[in-house]
């Protein structure tokens, strides 16, 4: 990956939660059109890395650039308007808004957004009027992803999309994320190593707030010791 190609680039990013130094110099590059995974055990800084892109954690040092421009000093909504969307781990569906309202809000009121969301997840059609707090976990996750996609971002950051979902729904979401290839640039955080190796082109493995490995699926496969040490599974 050369500098010119990187859509998202983090250079030596440091961030703190109070006294705890949670990101200790994270550097990574996401090429336009790529699907990139961020792996590691719980608490190593994957979610914080995603949040740092939107300035949701105070970045003390380092540089974050999107499409060649620094995001420093911009507010979260301005960063989102540059073309980055995020599907947070806890989905954060607005409970007092209906499914349709959640979608329309994300699309800035664009009237064809509902049809677009139904194309991604046909199941949404059946509960468009239901309030956000009356959805199952899987329905919430589909809505959360649809909400990010109808904003038509250039880059979407997705945090633990399969966590706690029934297998049949997880499969549906896996399929949709695979369908994003070529349409959007994606950064995926998840625990399912096997799936990530199938779906992503490039992987970053994190430990203690640092990137300890990055490379292709093949490179990762050839490194079982690393997988066992940092991901806690036998390759």
């Amino acid at each position: 990956m050369s500098d010119g190609e990187a859509l998202l680039r983090l250079d030596d990013v440091h961030a703190h939660y109070g006294l705890s130094h949670v990101l200790q110099g994270v550097s990574l590059e996401v090429a336009a059109g790529a699907i990139v995974s961020l792996m590691g055990r719980n608490g190593v800084g994957k979610t914080t890395t995603l949040k740092s892109v939107f300035g949701l954690v105070p970045v003390r040092a380092g540089r974050i650039a999107f499409a060649g421009e620094s995001l420093a000093g911009l507010r979260a909504y301005e960063i989102a308007r540059r073309g980055i969307a995020m599907v947070p781990e806890d989905r954060r569906i607005f409970s007092t808004l209906s499914v349709a309202e959640n979608i329309l809000l994300a699309a800035g009121g664009r009237s064809d957004a509902i049809a677009e969301a139904i194309e991604w997840f046909p199941g949404l059609r059946n509960y468009l009027r239901r309030p956000g707090d009356q959805l199952s976990g899987g329905e919430q996750q589909m809505l959360a992803i649809a909400r990010a996609l109808v904003a038509r971002p250039r880059l979407v950051l997705i945090d633990e999309p399969l966590e706690g979902l029934a297998p049949v729904i997880a499969e549906r979401i896996e399929q949709t994320l695979q369908d994003l290839r070529g349409k959007m640039t994606v950064v995926l955080v998840d625990q399912n190593l096997k799936w990530l190796m199938q779906v992503a082109d490039h992987h970053y493995v994190m430990d203690h707030g640092c990137v300890v490995f990055h490379g292709t699926s093949d490179a990762l496969r050839q490194n079982p010791a690393l997988i066992e040490q940092y991901l806690g599974v036998a390759a």
Binding site: R75, Y77, A80, P88, F94, T96, L97, E101, A106, A151
Partner: protein, 290 residues
């Protein structure tokens, strides 16, 4: 006849409730959005009444005053938000409360400096200056107008919040501002708009109250106590709770006058205390704190 005095007190109580509702709706919307109890809300109500007095004097039109006074106060509300709430957004609620309390005192003193300590009277608009007679029941028509006006404002706000894209933006930003920002919503602009709208509602209430209560510098202090009682009894952030609590509070005082005469304020406080004993977070209050 007892039923006539009863009907009279009911209507008087409802028209007072109309003013309480308009003031409290703005206060509770601002709380729902920013999670701050805004003490300047009372002086913004007073400013609405003063501007209305001034505009009626200048233009001779009560209706023009009713339109322009809220707009002027909306602008002042934006300024209040900018200097007293925005810089303290990350501070504890008590600090924000104290900052708005201090600013309310400053604004009240400015009112006293400019307009003096005297009370002013605004005359009733000609269209509602007469009384309506239903048999031996005589109702001032302006009181009925107040009730209808408050009902219409409530319906308009309810529809705006429930049925429009702007309403969805407001609900989303109230519920989870960070997620709304991730979905490209300029949450600060939404907050400022709600603050301006809430301020305009306070001013509308002040302008509507001006012909029935006199316009005086401490009117803000008097109304803010009632408004805080109404929004907490109704359940902070709940619009229907606000309407219900305003009616209970004003009827307790109005009907109480018939039942216990000059002790009606004591009765009112007892009823409100009972409300809090049964519903500690207000009638439609959230059970868990935010």
């Amino acid at each position: 006849m007892t039923w006539i005095s009863l009907a009279n007190q009911l209507i008087l109580g409802l028209s007072t409730a109309a003013i309480y509702v308009l003031v409290s709706l703005g206060l509770t919307m601002i709380f729902g959005m920013m999670n701050v109890l805004n003490f300047t809300h009372g002086v913004l109500y007073a400013l609405g009444a003063y501007f209305s007095y001034l505009l009626v004097k200048l233009t001779g039109s009560f209706w023009l005053a009713l339109l322009i006074a809220p707009l002027l106060v909306a602008l002042i509300g934006m300024l209040v938000e900018h200097i007293s709430i925005r810089p303290l957004a990350d501070r504890p609620h008590l600090i924000q409360f104290l900052a708005t309390f201090a600013l309310a005192l400053v604004i009240e003193q400015v009112i006293r400096l400019v307009a003096g300590n005297d009370a002013y009277a605004v005359s009733l608009p000609v269209a509602f200056a007469q009384t309506l007679s239903l048999g031996s029941l005589v109702i001032p028509s302006y009181r009925l107008f107040l009730i209808v006006a408050a009902l219409m404002v409530c319906l308009a706000i309810g529809t705006l919040l429930a049925k429009t894209q702007v309403g969805a933006l407001i609900r989303a930003t109230s519920e989870d501002p960070e997620m709304a920002a991730l979905l490209r919503v300029n949450t600060r602009a939404v907050s400022t708009t709600v603050f301006a709208g809430g301020s305009a509602l306070a001013a509308l209430a002040g302008a509507l109250a001006a012909p029935v209560f006199s316009v005086h510098p401490s009117m803000g202090e008097e109304i803010i106590t009632m408004a805080f009682l109404v929004v907490t009894a109704g359940g902070l952030g709940s619009l229907r709770g606000t309407v219900l609590a305003a009616i209970i509070l004003s009827q307790a005082s109005s009907l109480g006058l018939l039942a216990v005469g000059k002790y009606s304020d004591v009765l009112t406080i007892c009823i409100m205390a009972a409300v809090f004993l049964v519903w500690p977070t207000g009638i439609f209050g959230r059970t868990e704190g935010r």
